[in-house]
């Protein structure tokens, strides 16, 4: 090799810091390439005999690719890179953490920079994706601080899986489960959102997030990536003198965003009569069926006091407080040319809008990268989290749900009159006629809930360059958490006077071991090849103990040791998936790129006869603008297409054979079918369970025009899932509540469009705009033969259900309507009960998932000020409101006003078709019962869930730090931030259409959860 020319050089970013991992390649022969080390330095050996002037191409994620000329006889090069201005030569992180040029990809991938999450924070990073990426439907839940998120990419692809993407940190999967499962639509007391796994990631540690939407993009991750992958790349250290310090602090406040529009004409009471003594006040504590609100001072409320009979319009504002969140994070980064490090510590303290609800998250993160020799490198990442949630808010049915009180209390009663919710003995105070509808203040003050999660995420990898361009890499990652939760329904609860205890203790471990061999070469001068082969072993294990108990023996003493009856139920799921995979990427003249990949998976959760599946994928891209001469109008044009198949196993173990377990007994031994760990009901297992498959194809076009001032990125995709593994409800008369089936076919197809523009670009002022819109058509093509529908969820009392119905989209709301006469269209009445006759409960009401999503971002920059405004919207879905159902029964909605004075005329036909015409009045509660009975017609509480929101506003001022030279500050920004500021369009009059409380597939229900909030605050970011 002696005599070969060796080039040495450094690559720096615009801020003067060295760039690690930048690729330096010879333009004329890309086989000659290298990457910068931890100090930004590189050495490139040129081919023998190469002595003349050459051109180098230098590229790195997030920077404009540069071409640098090197003169004959020049041996040292210094390159300074600019931040990316356009996406033409963008390098993106793809599956397994592999960096690839975006132009070479045959599928759509969107990258979001970390700083977009750190200024206007969401506690849960996944919520911050809302509106940012075409085809990504992200929504935070309204369950208070520390709550979960629900993210779906390109629609719901499986009938029974959770449909959420796989979260991957630095190439390795992490756990995103909600301990003990997501809340249900109709649960009580213990029905809280315990937070998901992604909620534990600190936004400050994020370098970038890549969203892999299509099957080809994610095929290397196998089955769990069928719903897409969210790849998180964390920040790494860099070689520099001294230690770089970054400090970020945010303080935000939040308030209830939507106040219901109640009737304030008639006040507390029954049958037109105001309550004038304590007993009648208690009978009507949640009923606004009284007299005309007239300021009468004879009014007596549930506190036993006389009050003026006036409308109390601020009960929500008075019941909930201003919530607050304070986040402080600090990071130290540095290193030398061999080793770089970054350490960060973050503390988040959140107080919910419900008093006494808090969430605290401490995150410590350490990243180390070291190049031990030229060939041997190691990387390690360690993260420790401590998350503590206190008094998470319940939703669903009434018992223990504090939100019931402010929403359903009589409209002339001030909710604060119920304070403190308990008497001198600490027992719940009566405020209404149903003990199950808890006093919200009693719940706030006496119910106890606490959870702590100790989480450790560790990754370590070793890479060794065996021969030139052949790199072997081994990675092990472990995501482990220990979770402790208890929920106490206290002594003195009216409905359950001796109390209840529930606890969950669990250890969850997600281990992945990955070995890859990658090889890069050029087959000819024009054809580059890179190949990858690998194997992965996934092991998931949980050790769960559920502790339940009844009746605290010594009143008001809350310990598991103090229960009259107790049970401890173990659940120990174990899952293994082994995989081998390989891929080949071909690059012809940087014009045409082709990718072939294949993977075989073995699943422990499937039948031993059918437990493995091979699936292939292929993708390509063609740079039209480089291949042919396009008019100058076009800067860049690319066509792409891909086809991929992914197979998957059952999400839970032990679904092959029916087993039997002991039932907790204080007497004789009892045994039954082992109930499903999550639902508690009996499930029919399936000995023939085989993999499901999901097949995707997509095509797209990327255009940059007018010197990249205008960009279009268009995608069409189609995704078909067959042999889905579904846990579906069956008639209880089968002896079981659910069955596991390999059935069905589900199709998602849609389009995504991203428009980017830079209308103004001057020295002092610039305006960038980005608009994304997506439409996803979803259809349940087939279920099992003879099976027209399966049920996912049911509301309290089954007033509405959520089903998968052949021919309908995923998640169809189903319920009842008022029967109408076929001939006249008039309502059919029952002469006995004077109520409309209910149809069967199989009426299709609407789709729970919005098919249209969009987001519009406008970024303005004027001198030191930047203003960023994000609007987003979702359209075309329906939502069923249980709060409105109850508010109708309680006479709180304006729709219950007709008939209060003078009676309500019911006109229609009777069940024989004969005319029916009668007047009902308030006497004997007939009118009240008439409206109460409205709960049996689901259609009355169904609303269009479409909305447009002003999701986010950030106004930033870049402080001129060079004037404060004593502090050695590199940069400092202060920002005003606001999230969920206004709802610009909605059809739900009384609540926020995003009022969701579970991350499960059971969407489309408003179920008396915590109200959604708007938040605003300040952010300070300083770099030393």
């Amino acid at each position: 090799q002696q005599g070969d020319r060796r080039l040495r050089g450094t690559v720096k970013g615009p801020d003067g810091n060295p760039l690690v991992g930048a690729t330096v390649a010879l333009v004329t022969d890309r086989r000659t390439a290298t990457a910068t080390d931890a100090t930004g330095a590189f050495t490139l050996s040129l081919p023998a005999g190469e002595a003349g002037p050459i051109e180098l191409e230098v590229s790195s994620v997030g920077f404009e690719t540069r071409r640098v000329s090197v003169q004959r006889g020049q041996y040292v090069v210094a390159v300074t890179m600019d931040n990316t201005k356009s996406s033409l030569n963008e390098v993106v992180v793809t599956a397994l953490g592999i960096n690839r040029e975006k132009k070479s990809l045959g599928y759509a991938v969107t990258t979001v920079k970390g700083d977009e999450f750190t200024t206007a924070r969401e506690n849960n990073i996944a919520n911050a994706l809302t509106g940012k990426v075409a085809g990504v439907n992200a929504a935070g839940l309204s369950t208070g601080p520390g709550g979960s998120s629900r993210v779906t990419i390109r629609g719901n692809g499986t009938l029974g899986g959770d449909n959420q993407p796989l979260y991957v940190v630095n190439g390795m999967p992490i756990d995103n489960s909600v301990p003990g499962g997501a809340p249900t639509v109709n649960g009580i007391t213990n029905n809280v959102d315990r937070g998901d796994g992604i909620a534990g990631i600190n936004p400050d540690d994020i370098e970038s997030i890549s969203v892999l939407k299509g099957g080809t993009a994610s095929a290397l991750y196998g089955s769990r990536a069928a719903n897409g992958v969210i790849l998180i790349t964390t920040k790494k250290g860099r070689a520099q003198r001294g230690v770089g310090v970054e400090y970020n602090s945010t303080a935000t406040l939040e308030n209830v965003a939507v106040i219901p529009d109640f009737q304030y004409t008639y006040g507390q009471g029954l049958d037109g009569v105001m309550s004038t003594d304590l007993n009648s006040a208690r009978a009507s504590g949640r009923k606004s069926w009284g007299a005309l609100i007239d300021g009468n001072n004879n009014y007596v409320a549930v506190d036993g006091q006389h009050h003026s009979y006036t409308a109390k319009k601020d009960n929500l504002q008075n019941f909930y407080q201003t919530g607050s969140t304070f986040t402080n994070s600090i990071a130290f980064a540095g290193g030398n040319e061999k080793t770089v490090y970054r350490f960060s510590a973050a503390d988040l303290n959140s107080n919910g809008i419900l008093p006494k609800t808090t969430y605290d998250r401490k995150t410590l993160n350490l990243s180390l990268n070291s190049k031990l020799t030229d060939r041997l490198g190691i990387e390690a990442l360690a993260q420790y989290n401590l998350e503590t949630g206190v008094n998470r808010t319940g939703a669903g049915d009434a018992l223990g749900n504090p939100n019931w009180t402010p929403l359903e209390i009589a409209n002339t009663a001030d909710v604060r009159w119920l304070k403190p919710g308990y008497d001198s003995n600490g027992n719940e105070q009566i405020w209404n006629d149903a003990a199950i509808a808890s006093n919200g203040y009693f719940v706030i003050n006496k119910y106890q809930e606490k959870d702590t999660k100790n989480r450790f995420i560790g990754q370590a990898s070793v890479s060794y360059e065996l021969v030139k361009n052949l790199v072997i890499k081994g990675t092990a990652s472990e995501d482990f958490y220990n979770y402790n939760y208890y929920n106490i329904l206290p002594t003195g609860t009216l409905y359950i006077p001796n109390g209840q205890y529930t606890a969950l203790k669990t250890d969850v471990s997600e281990f992945n071991g990955l070995v890859t061999a990658s090889y890069k070469t050029a087959l000819t001068k024009d054809i580059g090849l890179s190949a990858l082969a690998g194997a992965n072993s996934r092991k998931y294990a949980e050790n769960r103990l559920t502790l339940n108990g009844l009746n605290f023996t010594i009143p008001y003493f809350y310990s598991f040791s103090n229960l009259a009856s107790q049970s401890t139920v173990p659940y120990s799921p174990r899952i293994g998936v082994n995989s081998i995979f390989g891929s080949v990427d071909l690059d012809f003249k940087s014009l045409l790129f082709l990718t072939f990949a294949g993977r075989e998976d073995w699943f422990s959760t499937l039948s031993p006869q059918n437990n493995h599946i091979f699936y292939p994928s292929v993708g390509g891209s063609f740079i039209l603008s480089d291949a042919v001469h396009l008019p100058d109008f076009f800067t860049y044009a690319k066509l792409r297409g891909s086809w991929a198949q992914v197979g998957g196993g059952a999400p839970d173990p032990y679904q092959i054979n029916l087993t039997y377990s002991n039932v907790t007994s204080s007497g004789p031994t009892l045994q039954n079918v082992t109930p499903d760990a999550n639902s508690g009901s009996n499930v029919i297992t399936n000995p023939n369970l085989k993999p499901y498959t999901s097949t995707t194809y997509e095509g797209g076009l990327e255009l940059q025009m007018l010197k990249s001032r205008l960009g279009i990125d268009f995608t069409y995709y189609n995704r078909q899932t067959t042999n889905d593994i579904v846990n579906t409800a069956v008639s209880t008369t089968s002896g079981y509540s659910n069955v596991i089936l390999n059935i069905g076919e589900l199709r998602n197809s849609g389009v995504e469009l991203l428009l980017t523009g830079k209308p103004v670009r001057t020295n002092n002022f610039s305006w960038n705009v980005s608009y994304n819109v997506a439409y996803n058509a979803n259809k349940v093509v087939a279920l099992a033969p003879g099976l027209p529908s399966i049920q996912i969820a049911a509301s309290v009392n089954g007033w509405a259900t959520l089903q998968q119905i052949v021919g309908q989209p995923f998640g169809t709301l189903v319920g009842t309507r008022m029967t109408r006469d076929a001939k006249t269209g008039l309502v059919v009445f029952n002469r006995t009960t004077h109520t409309p006759v209910m149809t069967t409960a199989t009426q299709i009401l609407g789709n729970s998932v919005a098919p249209y999503t969009m987001g519009l971002t406008n970024d303005f920059k004027y001198k030191r000020f930047t203003l960023s405004i994000l609007l987003d919207g979702k359209f075309g879905n329906k939502i069923f409101s249980i709060f409105e159902l109850y508010a109708t029964r309680m006479g709180k909605l304006k729709s219950t006003l007709p008939g209060r004075a003078g009676g309500l005329e019911l006109k229609g036909v009777d069940q024989t078709g004969a005319p029916y015409d009668t007047v009902i009045t308030q006497t004997n509660g007939v009118l009240r019962n008439y409206y109460d009975n409205y709960k049996t017609y689901s259609e009355l509480f169904l609303h269009d869930g479409s909305f447009i929101k002003l999701r986010q506003v950030i106004l930033t001022y870049q402080i001129p730090v060079q004037h404060i030279s004593t502090l050695k500050i590199q940069s400092a920004n202060i920002s005003f931030v606001a999230r969920n500021l206004f709802i610009l369009y909605r059809q739900t009059h009384n609540f926020d259409p995003e009022q969701s409380f579970t991350s499960s597939n059971a969407q489309g229900f408003e179920s008396i959860g915590l109200p959604r909030t708007r938040s605003y605050g300040l952010n300070l970011s300083v770099k030393f």
């Binding site: 006629d433 149903a434 032990y654 007994s665 002896g735 009960t833």
Partner: protein
């Protein structure tokens, strides 16, 4: 690449095959409970329907008020029975049916299954039967509904076949059988007693079959001795599954506070019930009823007071003065639940004698034996707290003989006494009320009721059957009549 996966997918906390006797014990517990989800369970609200109890609260008072807004309370029993006792008995029977040494296990499971199915069909009419509970074994997820008539005929022949297959020389469930400890002779009596109950059920719809089966049952030998009473035993402390389910319901829904005032759901004894017991100077009144005076339970008969079923959703000022179940007797969480008593046999035999189907004793003597047996039940349930002296019993039976008259007049006496005697088994009282019209309760024409002021004739199928078993549900409704509370089931022919 799947080494060890088969083992990995084995649940370490469960076994792969059932232990039949343990499943059978659970089936006994479940078969004695009534499904009801944190609301009035069927057993509880039928106490209201038979006017033993009521509540000022409309929701909790559904049983006594039949208000339209709470008809969904009738779903519970149906939803609970199949995944619980029906499926459990299927598991037991599958495990033992091919083993000739376990013939008694099979027979007792069959008899118990008859008991469980009868309760369901008596509430709902046509129900899934021949195809039910086969979700796992036969992948039958949508069972057809069988007509009640064919269910009844099949259950009757099951009783006969199972009773005859019992063999005292073979093994039994032993201590796992909480009802009889595996005693085959007693299971046989239980089987023929159930046959007597079922046979008599047919008097309105098929008098000839009724006579055939009643005669057959009596010939087989029914429960006449206290020692043979079919009763389920419970434990007062510990897990809810081990407690008397009706008591647990009453306890949790209302009487847990034990002060007469802060009843969770506003429940009390109804005035119909207390007034009747007072009018006959019934010595059972102080056994079963208390009124809370100064925070202490008082059993003085004259102080007992029932609450009106008309109170509209507001706690009455004198709420504390109304009677409620005696915590020392009716509310014993560990007290036995009587499933088939000697008293019931005697009253059914009284009717059989009047109809000329039985001549072993006179109707009036059988009637007296029935009352005497019923009075003794309370000492079986509650020990000394429930013991009624022999002299008090004699005084009562002397004052309340079966007065001769028309069949209807005597039926009125029998089934009014049945109402008093079988308390708190409201379902069997409800069944005989529908069959005979007695006791002659005055239906509560409460405003907003769902029935036009009549006592309902059946329960509603759960709404989930409309969506999960649509075709078969529709066929059942088309055959039986609309799925409402006033549609009469097969044996309740008008």
């Amino acid at each position: 690449c799947d080494k060890g996966y088969k083992q990995l997918n084995v649940n370490p906390d469960a076994v792969s095959s059932p232990t039949p006797q343990y499943v059978f014990t659970l089936a006994e517990y479940d078969g004695c409970g009534y499904g009801g989800q944190y609301g009035s369970s069927a057993a509880d609200f039928l106490l209201g329907t038979m006017q033993y109890t009521t509540s000022y609260n409309d929701v909790a008072g559904f049983g006594s008020k039949y208000i339209n807004s709470q008809v969904q309370q009738t779903y519970g029993a149906f939803n609970a029975a199949y995944p619980d006792e029906i499926n459990e008995l299927g598991i037991v029977m599958k495990a033992v049916k091919t083993d000739p040494t376990k013939i008694n296990w099979l027979a007792e499971a069959r008899i118990w299954r008859v008991y469980c199915y009868m309760r369901q069909t008596d509430l709902y009419g046509d129900i899934p039967y021949s195809q039910a509970g086969l979700g796992y074994d036969s992948s039958l997820y949508k069972p057809a509904y069988d007509p009640q008539q064919s269910i009844y005929m099949n259950l009757l022949s099951e009783l006969d076949a199972a009773a005859q297959s019992l063999d005292a020389t073979k093994s039994t469930f032993g201590a796992s059988d909480l009802i009889y400890g595996g005693n085959t002779a007693q299971w046989k009596k239980f089987a023929y007693s159930l046959m007597l109950r079922m046979g008599m059920r047919l008097t309105k719809v098929d008098i000839a079959s009724a006579q055939t089966w009643v005669t057959k049952a009596i010939a087989g030998g029914v429960i006449l001795q206290d020692a043979d009473i079919a009763k389920m035993t419970y434990i007062a402390n510990g897990q809810n599954i081990n407690k008397n389910p009706l008591v647990l319901d009453l306890w949790n829904n209302d009487y847990i506070a034990q002060n007469g005032q802060t009843n969770t759901e506003g429940g009390k004894y109804a005035d119909t019930w207390i007034s009747y017991l007072q009018s006959t100077n019934d010595p059972r009144l102080p056994i079963i009823s208390v009124v809370w005076i100064g925070g202490k339970p008082d059993t003085t008969s004259s102080k007992q007071l029932g609450m009106s079923q008309d109170i509209a959703n507001k706690i009455p000022a004198n709420f504390v003065t109304f009677s409620e179940p005696n915590p020392a007797t009716v509310l014993g969480l560990g007290s036995s639940k009587l499933l088939f008593t000697a008293a019931e046999s005697y009253f059914l035999l009284t009717e059989a004698a009047l109809r000329g189907w039985y001549s072993g004793a006179t109707a009036s003597s059988l009637y007296t034996l029935g009352i005497q047996a019923a009075m003794r039940h309370w000492s079986i349930v509650a020990g000394s707290a429930g013991t009624i002296s022999a002299s008090a019993i004699n005084t009562y039976v002397n004052n309340n003989p079966l007065v001769t008259g028309t069949l209807d007049q005597q039926m009125k006496q029998i089934y009014t006494q049945f109402w008093v005697s079988i308390f708190p088994d409201a379902q069997e009282v409800y069944n005989n009320y529908r069959r005979t019209g007695y006791p002659a309760l005055v239906p509560n024409n409460y405003p907003t009721n769902a029935t036009g002021g009549q006592i309902f004739r059946r329960f509603l199928y759960p709404i989930s059957e409309q969506t999960l078993n649509t075709t078969n549900y529709n066929a059942a409704v088309a055959r039986q009549g609309p799925d409402n509370l006033m549609t009469r089931i097969w044996w309740d022919k008008q």
